[in-house]
């Protein structure tokens, strides 16, 4: 099914983030981050935030991080962002 969808998107040149429910990330300097199509927060601390997405996790590291807004589709994070990393599902495990 996923394969079919991907093909469909490629043929018709459609935005993948909308159809496939893929995350869209927007970063403003190092102090503001918008994320659409998240699947929830799995871990939240002022130094680290782990956000679930369709294919894994996005991990933010920084200082005095806070969630400035969160609803079903999108969230925004403010604070000093030091690093952004991506962890595919089951990627950590060998």
């Amino acid at each position: 099914m996923d394969k079919l969808k991907r093909q469909f998107i490629r043929v018709f040149e459609l935005p993948a983030d909308i159809i496939m429910d893929l995350p869209l990330l927007m970063l403003v300097a190092d102090n503001k981050l918008y994320l659409e199509n998240h699947k929830g927060i799995s871990y939240f601390q002022s130094e680290e935030i782990k956000i679930k997405i369709k294919s894994g996790f996005i991990i933010l590291k920084g200082r005095s991080l806070s969630i400035s807004e969160i609803n079903r589709e999108s969230l925004s994070i403010s604070g000093k962002i030091l690093s952004i990393s991506y962890e595919p599902r089951g990627g950590d495990r060998p």
Binding site: K39, G40, I41, S42, Y43, F44, Q45, S46, K50, K52, L65, S66, I67, S68, E69, I70, N71, R72, L75
Partner: protein, 385 residues
């Protein structure tokens, strides 16, 4: 900004969230379609955030399912403000009452301000206004300023111009009084000064001189008529003479700006200087000031401190040209003449005649020609009666 206004408008709660796996809990809340904002991390089991007041009840089922606690810290926003106001009904009532009183109060006339009065009493104007139906406390709406202006002009003939305007609740009255010509006096008109008559206008009585006549002070000009009154304008050419002189050189003292100060003591009648040197400059101006050192009641120690301030000066000999000397002499003469002239006198022409002109000094005679009204009423004139 817009978000903040929206939050305020809808009303929101600041909440404390406690429990385990709070990240998960927040995700669950957002899955319900509830907006959370400003979520802060305080400790692993303690978050703080904001939520709309209408969404708060939607949390209940979730709270029951999970072992999390949510506590309201603050209620913010317009709906809560409204609630507060409702509790303080009298405050609202007071605010409305204040506005109403203010509005009502501002629609009445409270005071007058009258500008331009000279001889007319303020009470006369206010009295006339009252007759027109305007007094303190009249509603502003019912007052037609143009109408009142016309009324006052008719009512008070002593006013030549009037303008009414509002300054808030104050009626501002700007007016100009008529200058009434003084009524004729009993008696005859005599000359107040020597001169040659240039203009003669008889308003009342009978002239005994004609234009071109030379008159002396006190001479009869206009005889009173049958009713004993005399009035008229008698303009005459009058000559004033004065002498002035100016030397062609002058000594001017100029301060060089250098100065030096010395201190000394005065004991009894003796001056003891605390410095040896004499005057520091060849030409100087000396200012000496004394200061009592110690006074107590009436007793004073006869020791005084004194200050001597020497200012260096230079004396410069100034030489004037003949033209400048002439000018100075004229000014000199004029200064002596001007106090004799009555206020408002028009000077027709000025002549001068140099009497003496040497290397040292210049002397001149100054003649001023003016035209003045010399008519002067003499009351105890028993002439024809």
């Amino acid at each position: 900004m817009i978000n903040k206004i929206l939050h305020y408008w809808k009303g929101y709660l600041k909440i404390d969230i406690r429990g385990n796996a709070l990240g998960r809990f927040i995700s669950q809340i957002s899955e319900l379609g509830i907006l959370l904002w400003n979520i802060e991390y305080l400790s692993y089991d303690h978050y703080r955030g904001c939520i709309y007041k209408d969404d708060y009840n939607k949390l209940r089922p979730l709270l029951r399912k999970r072992r999390c606690q949510v506590k309201i810290l603050e209620k913010r926003g317009f709906p809560f403000f409204l609630l507060k106001i409702r509790k303080r009904l009298f405050l609202l009532f007071g605010i409305i009452l204040f506005i109403v009183i203010f509005q009502v109060g501002a629609s009445f006339l409270w005071s007058f301000e009258i500008v331009g009065l000279e001889n007319i009493e303020e009470e006369v104007i206010i009295g006339a206004l009252r007759e027109a139906g305007i007094k303190r406390g009249s509603p502003k709406k019912e007052i037609d300023l143009k109408e009142i202006e016309n009324y006052l002009l008719q009512k008070l003939p002593a006013i030549s111009w009037i303008d009414l305007s509002w300054q808030g609740t104050r009626l501002y009255i700007d007016l100009v009084e008529k200058r009434l010509v003084e009524p004729a006096g009993k008696g005859a008109i005599v000359a107040s000064k020597d001169g040659i008559i240039t203009k003669l206008i008889v308003l009342k009585g009978q002239a005994v001189i004609k234009e071109g006549d030379t008159v002396t002070a006190g001479q009869l000009l206009i005889l009173p008529g049958k009713d004993g009154e005399a009035r008229g304008i008698v303009n005459a050419e009058i000559w004033y003479e004065a002498r002035g002189e100016s030397s062609l050189s002058d000594r001017v003292i100029v301060n060089t700006g250098k100065h030096r100060t010395y201190w000394g003591l005065k004991i009894g009648g003796k001056l003891i200087r605390l410095h040896r040197a004499g005057p520091p400059y060849e030409q100087y101006r000396l200012k000496r000031t004394f200061k009592k050192i110690f006074t107590w009641r009436n007793i004073s120690v006869p020791i005084e401190l004194f200050k001597e301030e020497y200012q260096e000066i230079i004396i410069i000999e100034m030489k004037y040209s003949t033209a400048t000397g002439l000018f100075r002499a004229k000014e000199n003469a004029l200064a002596g003449l001007l106090p004799q002239l009555a206020e408002g006198t028009v000077i027709d022409s000025i002549y001068h005649e140099v009497i003496e002109s040497g290397d040292e000094k210049i002397k001149l005679r100054l003649i001023i020609k003016t035209e003045e009204n010399i008519a002067c009423l003499k009351e105890d004139f028993g002439g024809r009666n």
